[in-house]
Symmetry: C2
Subunit: 316 residues, 2 copies
Amino acid sequence: MSHAADQPAGRGASRARANPADEGRSPLIGTLAVIGVGLIGGSFAAALRQASAVGRVLGVGRNADSLAQAESLGLIDSIATPEEAAAQADFILIATPISAVAPMLSRMKPVLRAEAVITDACSTKADVASAARDTLGERAVQFVPGHPIAGAELTGPGAADANLYRGRNVILTPLAQSGGAACGLVRRAWGLCGARVITMDADAHDRVLASVSHVPHFLSSVYMGQVAAAADADTRLALAGSGFRDFTRIAAGSAEVWRDIFLSNRKAVLAELRSVRATLDYAEQVLQASDEAALEAFLERAALARRLWASRSGQS
Amino acid sequence: MSHAADQPAGRGASRARANPADEGRSPLIGTLAVIGVGLIGGSFAAALRQASAVGRVLGVGRNADSLAQAESLGLIDSIATPEEAAAQADFILIATPISAVAPMLSRMKPVLRAEAVITDACSTKADVASAARDTLGERAVQFVPGHPIAGAELTGPGAADANLYRGRNVILTPLAQSGGAACGLVRRAWGLCGARVITMDADAHDRVLASVSHVPHFLSSVYMGQVAAAADADTRLALAGSGFRDFTRIAAGSAEVWRDIFLSNRKAVLAELRSVRATLDYAEQVLQASDEAALEAFLERAALARRLWASRSGQS
């Protein structure tokens, strides 16, 4: 993806956009806290700044270099601890690996402002929902789980892009406890980022995403690992072309983030892999038998499905 | 890929480039015949025209619409039968599905000019080599099998691009019979297209390409077919993002072309798939066991290998 290069979230541009709101009506969100200021969190902050929808942005994270970079890029106004962020923020986005969500909510809960709204950007939702219910208790009314479906081959604050979410889907999976006002604010914030907001059941989300996101990543990593482990890996990789490039691009993603996604959505991913193996068995049998007609029909079905998706989705 | 849009191979541009050669020294190739005027053949013609390396281009093909389009785009000067092309051409590129190569060589052989050089652009080389040996006999001295490693998600003359081969690898796998002059001319022609020319043994080529090209295509088609066959395919596909887009892009390729590739390279593809299955078995066992450390280590090896490839190859 080239969006980071297309429109860097530089200090000058984002600050200039924030000023009119300061001078006129107050922004949608007075103080935003972003927990994990990388591609996802940084782009959210940049998009809301560009929409003049945020007053002040606090950044929270484990990595001091990333926080310093986010500050120097103007993505955040200042660096905060989780407790400082919780005590000051009107809106909190948690954009960390899934396993960090529950510990983060535990640290923030005692000092969380009563009117604050919290959401997250994790790729699985059932685990996040139960972490929120278990950790927040009665404060779960303030929490609305969410998942922006936006690319993440690039990582870190340097990849943040105010236009990352434009035209992308963001799925919200509200808890039974989530308050209407909280849902409304989260929906509005993503809408101001240019996203299309969809509401789904958390389990349905996890099953669908196992299929269209987690399994492709798993297979891409398996394949990349297999090629790299070959005795003649260097020769192979020297002759790899654009098909290889696209097929393996997702395998470069963060191992920590994807470890959490696979573990968090283990059952659904394993179920989908069983189904993929059944299709692989069929295709291999057809090839083994040199069955020309069946092989072509199989390839044609996949090609037509992919071309139809491209024309419907507007993505090539 | 966007190269077709970046630089359309229009009539005006290519004709203008050909003129200086006509007026001054004679071009490298007097009459070029391209058998199959799609992305691969059309781009070869356009690249040689741009380099003022070709006098006249004849186009041969099964599809009258494609030939008419190639002519109106200025990729070819006129349409010819295989026999007409063989009787006139100094250089012949066969850019058809693999199964069409032997019948085409049989038709051309009786009228082939003694000084003509023939090459092909097929994705497997052992089958093409034996087809050439069996069909051409003593004329095999004129044949040099080749394989340009360049993207083919787009098809047809409209996708042809004079810069498609710039910086790409082209692998030649000369027959024992291939003449030195023929090898030299094929090498020079690809060089003028901007390609890096590599010579390899045909079997080694087929094993390496089974790994880095054919297996990714097979897996991408298997996965795409599995998703499209699901009862809730529409919901899944509506929520597919950029990872899905890249992982499945190759599955949109021509079913006929890929049927031939898989059948032609069946043993090597099946051997590689066995190795991929062994890696998949391992990764699934680790996930099944919720082994956090092993899962992260597995993902990290794949991610590092992919990032290293990106930095070495200059492709992201």
